[in-house]
Subunit: 408 residues, 2 copies
């Protein structure tokens, strides 16, 4: 008998019929003798509906009030799932983030979990209840409702598993696991039986969109056994996220090709090259709670330097505005931005012990005449920024060049 935390995304609970199916799956695990805690997202489309409604009132909705509003999406789902479980004769109880309570900081619309009170859940499990928790939301120390930002339900699932020391955290989604790349772009993309935590981290952060990055970080930090599965498939095995030490000795060189269309790049040109400029440029951006992904600094002309970074497209206008102030203050020559870019990355723990991955990547892109605008590397990935229009082409030729369509 294990304690399993299951997380179901928006499409998995997108209709009453699907919610009933989730209840049946939960009942199956419960019948096997497991204790089950379920975290759920809002029904698909609901969060967008609520945000659109808010925008009809305020073009840029007040973050505290937006959280009050958007959090209702998951609140509806927990009630419906608890009803569906009771309809199957199970004992079940729903909790909002505030009720659990999932304590977060006060950064509305992108709050971070500080702690989870497991006492009520533990008591419910002990008395045979299935515990249903609203994903994506929490409450700050003053009792204000907060949300964790898009995809935050995954983080809720993993955080619940960590707090309860669950045996496994199962993330149910509309795909049956992690693929070598997006099958919509490369039909020959394969499902990976397992992937290391570090690869998954790079895949998620680079836009594979299967799991939210923070949930994977959380899983790594608390050593939560994480599995991605399809909620539409009976008895699928999904993809297990392993920690490197448990992994196979022989790793494939490259596990997958990740990509992200949601970034924009900003370059500050002609910055006087003095210590502390990176902080002076990125400090105000961070203060505005804008997340920065790639950061690159090139040597410029005559004691100046060029500084580039990427942000989420959503934050692009705000970041440009901030940078225009920074430019004056720093005496930089100009600030230029481009939001029609895409990032493509090759990811794999095997890369560490193999030279030649970078050169193969660059040759492959060059052969198709795709220009590399920015580049950054880590131990297990190489990312390039290219013109958005070449994205699909780049993913396809890289998938082929690294022989990802062939079973290892």
């Amino acid at each position: 008998m294990s304690l399993i935390v299951q997380k179901y995304g928006g499409t998995s609970v997108g209709s009453p019929e699907r919610i009933r199916n989730v209840a049946k799956r939960v009942a199956k695990f419960k019948a096997q003798g497991h204790d089950i805690v379920v975290a759920v997202s809002a029904m698909s489309g609901e969060t967008n509906r609520l945000i659109a409604l808010a925008r009809e009132i305020q073009s840029s909705p007040d973050p505290r009030e937006l959280d009050v509003m958007v959090s209702t999406g998951e609140q509806v789902t927990i009630a419906l799932l608890a009803m569906a479980l009771k309809d199957l004769g199970l004992k079940a109880k729903s909790y909002t983030g505030a009720q659990v309570r999932i304590l977060t900081d006060s950064a509305h619309t992108k709050a971070r979990i500080v702690s989870i009170d497991e006492e009520r859940m533990r008591a419910d499990l002990d008395s045979g209840h299935v515990v249903v928790v609203a994903g994506f939301q929490g409450v700050d120390a003053e009792g204000n409702i907060t949300t964790l930002g898009r995809g935050g339900s995954d983080t809720t699932g993993v955080a619940l598993a960590a707090a309860l020391k669950a045996d496994e955290c199962q993330i149910y989604t509309d795909v049956d696991g992690v693929y070598t790349t997006d099958p919509r772009i490369v039909p020959k993309a394969r499902r990976l039986k397992s992937i290391t935590f570090e690869e998954m981290l790079e895949m998620a952060s680079l836009g594979s969109k299967v799991l939210q990055i923070r949930s994977v970080e959380f899983a790594g930090k608390y050593k939560v056994k994480l599995r991605v599965l399809s909620s539409f498939e009976e008895d699928g095995e999904g993809t297990l996220i392993t920690f490197e030490e448990e992994g196979k000795m022989e790793q494939p060189i490259i596990s997958g090709i990740a990509f992200n269309r949601d970034e924009a790049k900003i370059t500050v040109r002609g910055v006087p090259d003095k210590p502390g400029i990176a902080y002076q440029i990125l400090g105000p951006v961070a203060d505005a709670n804008i997340e920065v992904d790639m950061i690159i600094q090139n040597v410029g002309a005559e004691g100046t330097t060029d500084f580039s970074f990427t942000v989420n497209k959503i934050d692009y206008d705000k970041a440009m505005k901030i940078l225009q102030d920074v430019q004056k203050h720093l005496g930089a020559r100009e600030v230029i931005g481009d939001s029609s870019i895409a990032k493509v990355s090759v990811v794999g723990v095997g890369m560490r012990s193999h030279v030649g991955v970078a050169s193969q990547m660059f040759r492959t892109l060059a052969e198709e005449g795709i220009n590399i605008q920015m580049m950054s590397t880590s131990e297990i990935k190489i990312s390039v920024v290219i013109d958005e229009k070449y994205l699909e082409l780049a993913v396809r030729i890289l998938h082929k060049a690294f022989q990802l369509d062939q079973e290892v």
Copy 2:
């Protein structure tokens, strides 16, 4: 400078445009120097949408979970109204029932308010905020979300006014006050400038539907100055609910004709006539949280008695089932029910000092051949149960007979 509690119903906040209008009205009062607390309902149609969704999962939704779900309706409205107020440059803050906190008992879907913590609201008012509170909902001592039942937002408004010792509680609705009867049935119905608390109580409980009965009871108990106004009319005066001692010396005999289509009648025939039978019949009904309105006991044949009462149509099936058990237990002859009835009442504090109201009422109905099935009287009202199909006719002829279409 006064402290005013305003309550806006579902149609008043039925669209983003209407929410903006509510914000403008609040701003006008705020500009006059008043402190404002606003209680709001769910956007019109939303509660029904949520209940329908719940019924797709469970034909008879679990009450605890239904409250979790339905309470999201007001939660969306408070956020939208707070955004609209901020958009006008006001300081505003929204609170769910749980956040305020509005402590209730644990009778899910029809909870009663136990206490309201005014501390947070008072602090917000002191710092110049408009406080926006979700109507209809609260939280029990264990932190479970509860709702007050249909129309409970009025009760929230009055309870907030009582807790904050507000100078006035303004209930904004889609009618501009209390009428002598429903203008949809009698076009000549007139708006009353004022009505006594007792008349209002009878009018509301008898189905005038302008205010929920519990809110009027609350107002009476805590001497809250209550005014019903239209949210679609600039500068209307609405109808003020007065307490009798403040009323005019000369009261009109009859203030209005109320009616209710939502009741069903149940008769237990041939009950052995012993002490305690009323309790034995109605005790189990009350235990099931079913509210009973009219209660009549007639002498029957041979040491037996006939016992009739009315319940809400929603509770009819449940009540009939309970009564069938009671029947066996009591050895009563039979239980019969009829859900196609309607109740019509004439209401007026002036009735006390005038004889002849009852006889005028009965004569008027008799002249049109309308049979009276049940009858009950109080100091300020006379109610009759008639066949549902005669309802409109009865209201029209009584309105005319008591000259309610003429200004007093």
